[in-house]
Amino acid sequence: MSAVTKDRAEIEAVTPPTEPTNGAIASKSRRGERWKRFHRTRVLVLLMVPGLVYFLVFHYGAFIANAVAFKEYVPFDGLWASPWVGTENFSRMFGDPDFWHATWNTLFIAVLQLVFFFPAPLALALLLHSLSSDLLRRFTQSVIYLPHFLSWVVVVALFQQVLGDTGLLNATLSDAGLHTVDIIGNPDAYKPLVVLEVIWKDAGWGTIIFLAALMQVNEQLYEAAAIDGAGPWRRFWHVTLPSIRPIVILLLIMRLGDILSVGFEQMLLQRQSVGPEAGEVLDTFVFWQGIVGGDTGYAAAAGLFKGVVGAALVFTANRVAHRLGEQGVYK
């Protein structure tokens, strides 16, 4: 909204109102200005077209296709001819224990991720930042960024190979005469396992942003604190942490807004190994109901519910951040 007003202000600043006495001519000249602006930037406008079409079709088109959540989808009739059923899909969903089970699993994993995965990159970044050898730091960075680029298929296969019944860990344990541990395919171990996987894959990559923030801390603050007699811990507590607080809060907001997404591909790959009781999350619930089970309208309702709650969460988290005097994701 404000962008549009500002746009107009810009145009008016460039072109002095030629005929303020005659409204018709003024509006005509404004239209003329707009045409001129279009003409002047026509190459750029043309360059926008493919991208704009993509967003209109696959984002806004999909947005409209959410209408199926209020329908009884009949494949033969297609999306538009299928009969409307009002909010029946939603009332069915709220009474479905499987849906609540998936929601519970999602939130449980999200909280585990928040507690164990979220601080991991920060801790790693602090470790890397404190290394005095540039070479060692760069080498370590190169190594720990790498898992981010692997497919979830590869990561899950790696974990099976290392932590499985006959994997590296259990073989080592049994060679040492110790008890073996049952991790892969064990419903009780599933939630910690998936959090461990995401830490292995993305904690290293997550350090990039924290390292950049740490580099930007004003060196003089450390120096002043040291002269005032602050040891390493107090410098960390009173200089480092306050300096990187804005970026930590920003990332926390983004994570909170996305809390109902806990890694669809990762969960889908392993759901079968432990069954839906332990392994179903909202995204896999949508997939299983809609694409495997063919209950399209019902699955779309669950997906829409997740989307609306997610958008509300981003909005709320951002408001809270502003209230606390932080930057937030958007203004």
Binding site: G51, L52, A65, T140, A157, F159, L168, A299, G307
Partner: protein, 298 residues
Amino acid sequence: MSSQSPVRPAWMERPRPLTKAAKGVAVIIVLALVLIPFLVIVSTSLASNREVVDNGGWVLWPTEPTLRAYRTVISGGIVTKALGVSVALTAAGTLFSLACTTFLAYALARPGVFGGKPVLLLILFTFLFPPGMIPAFLLVKGMGLMDTYTALIAPVLINVFNLIVLRGFFQGIPEELYEAARLDGANDWQILWRVVLPLSKAALAVVSLFYAVSYWNAWFHASIYLESGHWPLSQVLRTYVIGGSQIADTGLSEAGQVSAPQTTQMAVLVIATVPILLVYPFLQKYFTKGVLTGAIKS
């Protein structure tokens, strides 16, 4: 990354030996946790059948390395075909995505473009409300894209994060350069090719890598949109390595050329990972430069 000097500043105490040792151990543990799984898959893929069976399914260091598992996998035909699909898909997808993202980012980075601000708002809004799985599926189906490779590219053509990174990078190019090019008579299209793109190699390299990796690794869309004969490698990998089907049972290898299932599984895994490992070192140095300058400026 080298903005911090490696020399200890005068005000900082000399680190205690205990602290130094603790840090060293921590770094070694982190490195080992990342690298050992890689070592295990490569070693297992190179190990002989007997060694794998004796050891219970995995090998840390093969005593008698052999390429037998790779020969088995390649002679089966399925992996080689899927590899071809993956390479073509990654190349085409990255090309289209990079072109559309660059064009859009460039137009949105220039001030005063007709319609620029509404379009930017329209795009940023999609961040708040990403398209759901079912609507996207119905859309692809409704457009008649089932069992086409277009279905794997078109719905994920532009990534908003990549778009914002590139736009931020383009905005960082000094306005004087645009002015100078314009005075030389260049139009916006020529400015893009002669001024903007040559100055944005780091950002373009990073964004290409992100797109290429995501196309290379993607399996979900392939699994719901494509017939199994048309699968890319990632989806083949998923079915044969995680799906639990034994490679020998699936016709993946020729009859009579039986390898221990673990060695062939690990060989497929290595084949799927090696391309990433190959491009990674070349692009790695651009990460911080390309990603952060772009992201921070926007």
